[in-house]
């Protein structure tokens, strides 16, 4: 009878008296929601962290205008130093596991991310699911200070918007995979703060295309149309909307894409390598600003051709930029070659930077318009205005 009790008491003592207890209450933590990295004039790293201020639910009464976050800034040689500097300004322990987004300023990205990224793989408190984005033109610090009306703060808003899809969203994991694979280069999304005339009430941000890296250095940007092309090329198109103008000023049509696929095939070639990109997609016609009666098959074809041409143009524009201007294989053509002909890849691997800009890439697009919505021609048109 006495032995089990003794056992329980001793076990309880083991549990309760050990010194190394890593228990931390939630209200002893400072949650880093998003971090912005800048390059200072002295060439040091500068980190601006956005720390969430937990809102007390149900405690209404005038303090709705309370800030949802505050920003701390520190600079240093590397992350450890940054962390130390930041912790000195905090009464609570900095907790990075809930960081949703990492913002990199354009200046820092152009200098190269070699000494910025390592900590995100070494420190277990960091998540590889964190989004990474480049802030164009401005300091990255500005973006974490945007007072965005939705969500807990701008970082959370960016995270939510990114995961919504339909645009380029790159996590640390994607970035590392692209950076470390054979014959591919990383891209990231691009964000810009929009503060119209310093009006703090209307602070917003905007996604403005993609940042193309060469190695770990920023090579340049793609605009929004070209980014759509990039999404097609990288097979991340998924759900999206495409609009196209019909030739001869007929008007324009728009479709909602639901299944998009891409297939890159290596065709061969001697000194010049040849690829074919085949893009297919399915979807419904949702907008018809022409006088065509799209319930007729031949008219639907016209709309379809126009849309296909538009997609092809986007992809070609994108290809031109990444091939000729930035010379960075962000769509992973090298990877395709590596997988289909590993021997050939071995030969040209080291001069791929030279070979890729000269590669001949053909694009074929096949869109399938399955449905036209509920109306054939626009309903507001009179009968004689409709083109059959």
């Amino acid at each position: 009878m006495i032995r089990p009790i003794l056992c329980i008491v001793l076990l309880a003592a083991v549990l309760l008296t050990t010194g190394c207890w890593d228990r931390t209450e939630i209200n002893d933590l400072a949650f880093d929601m998003g971090t912005a990295f800048d390059l200072t004039e002295k060439g040091e790293l500068q980190a601006s962290i956005q720390i969430a201020l937990p809102q007390q639910a149900g405690m209404t009464g005038g303090n709705n205008q309370k800030d949802k976050f505050f920003v701390l800034t520190a600079s240093g040689k590397n992350h450890i130093e940054l962390q130390k500097q930041l912790q000195k300004k905090l009464s609570r322990q900095l907790f990075t596991s809930h960081r949703g987004v990492i913002f990199i300023s354009e200046r820092l990205a152009r200098r190269g991310l070699d000494d910025v990224l390592d900590v995100f793989t070494h420190d277990p408190h960091n998540r590889l699911r964190t989004y990474i984005m480049v802030v164009k033109d401005q300091d990255a610090k500005n973006i974490v200070q945007v007072r965005y009306p939705f969500e807990e703060g701008p970082s959370e808003a960016v995270r939510a918007a990114e995961s919504m899809g339909g645009q380029l969203s790159v996590t640390l994991r994607d970035f590392f995979i692209a950076a470390s694979s054979e014959g591919a280069s990383p891209v990231t999304a691009v964000i810009q703060p929009e503060i119209p005339d310093g009006n703090i009430e209307r602070e917003m941000f905007r996604f403005t295309g993609a940042a193309v890296f060469k190695g770990l250095k920023l090579a340049g940007f793609l605009n929004e149309k070209e980014t759509d092309g990039l999404l097609w090329l990288t097979g991340r198109m998924g759900h999206s909307r495409i609009t196209a103008a019909l030739p001869e000023g007929y008007g324009n049509v728009g479709m909602v894409l639901i299944g998009a696929q891409r297939k890159i095939t290596f065709i061969g070639g001697g000194s010049k390598v040849k690829f074919n990109v085949r893009l297919t997609g399915e979807g419904d016609l949702f907008e018809n600003n022409t006088s065509l009666d799209v319930s007729k098959m031949q008219n639907l074809r016209i709309a379809q051709k126009a849309l296909e041409r538009e997609v092809e143009k986007q992809v070609r524009d994108c290809l031109f930029k990444i091939q000729k201007q930035y010379q960075s294989d962000v769509a992973g053509f090298g990877g395709v070659l590596y997988r289909s002909q590993p021997r050939k890849w071995k030969q040209i691997k080291n001069k791929w930077d030279k070979v890729f800009p000269e590669a001949e890439i053909t694009v074929t697009v096949k869109l399938n318009l399955r449905d036209t919505g509920v109306a054939g021609p626009p309903l507001q048109l009179k009968k004689r205005e409709i083109v059959n």
């Binding site: 089990p4 309880a12 549990l15 309760l16 207890w21 890593d22 228990r23 931390t24 209450e25 939630i26 209200n27 933590l29 949650f31 929601m33 969430a52 937990p54 809102q55 007390q56 639910a57 149900g58 907790f95 596991s97 809930h98 949703g100 408190h125 998540r127 807990e152 959370e156 995270r159």
Partner: protein, 504 residues
Amino acid sequence: MDVKTGKDRGKVPFEEEDHGELVPDLAYNETALKSIFRGCSDVIFRSIRLGGETRWIVVYISSLVDKKMLDEHILSPLIKRRTNPNENVSGSIEALDDLFVSIGEIMLASKISDLVRYVLNGYAVVLAAGNRRAMAVSVSGKAQRSLEEPTSEPVIRGPKDGFIENNSTNIGLIRSRLKTSRLKIETFTVGDLTQTEVALTYIEGVADASLVEEVRKRISEIRIDGVLDSNNIEEFIEDTAFSPFPQVQSTERPDVVAAGLLGGNIAILVDSTPFALLLPMTFWAGMQASEDYYIRWPIATFVRWIRLIFLVIAIFAPALYVAGTTFHQEMIPTSLLLSIAGSREPVPFPALIEALLMEIIFEALREAGIRLPKQIGQAISIVGALVIGQAAVQAGIISAPVVIIVSITGIASFTIPRYSFANGIRLLRFPMLFLAGTLGLYGIALGFLGILLHVCTLRSFGVPYFAPVAPLSLRHIKDVVLRVPVWNKTSRPPAAESEEQGTR
């Protein structure tokens, strides 16, 4: 396994004294009985005289006999005989037998101690002059309540009668459900002072004969002064006393007992309590309500799954909350974490203390609700809900998520249908809470393993407690995670495995 006997308690068991035999002298017998019943004002000695001398004495306890029966079937025939002197008055006790033909149960006894026992059990004892034997006539009419719906196990659909505090009525309720001569009822008398009737009930050929023998042995070895509820019996015969899980199922419902008997279980009915015992019991029996078999099977299956989910919640929810908020903040979705952090902002206690405090208060409320008279019980629940649900949160002493977790846990523990089983489950969350508060998820995993290990090693009268899941028996598992239609249920539960392989 050894059963605790009276000697273990360091006490000499109380034995009924031997008072010797009756003698032909009626006056002597009367004195003997009166000296035994001295100070017992409820024992009545009714002398009936004939021709100037006392011929018969009727001894009974007024509160235990049915007065109407006593008047009609004993006193009036005796008195009629007195007023009708033409009849041949025979003094022999056998002649009385002819008088009391309208009575069902009649015994003859010559030992005074036997007579005392009869009187105490509600018989009327008739002593006749010149006889060495007396007659005990069953006219017992104890005060008893009428059959009511069981309060501890209510059902929406299904039989609504429940056991009462009278064993013969209870046995009748079972017998009326199982009209077979194979239903055996063996009675024992347990309790030196209470002399409580304990009935061992089983269906011959369905229940395991060796199990019946074992239970018989364990019951007859019980030495105790008084048996006031079947739990007194339960604690004597169960295998493992140090377990939160009951190894004997107790029920107030005759249909549950009948179903158990059909499934090869053994029932023990104890006089003066409406709670019968069913054994062996398994973990899964604790999770099943009798109504599972009275509603359509898809619904019953769904309800069983709900119970399983809430069983897990009842044990682990507060522990998971504490582990998550004090050790594994990275595992909580960001927006949820921020709202928890927001409500924890003013709270002065660590999450473990907070959860512990609320759990204990909840238990106190539950206990208060049971013990108090029904009218005040209402007030308790209102005060509890208001004070703890509203005021404590608004005052910033307790955070709202903890209140939510504790209420969900409370509701979850009430979904477990067997009361004694639910109590065991309710107890388990406290060690889990401590483990979670000291070791986090690792502690919860350890605790879970510990519970699993205990449940898997536990045995109830030779049947593994976790059967048929561990050891796995695919044939029987149909009735655990599912409730297959009755026509599909072709095998008896594991308790009856060794005997005939009957259907249903």
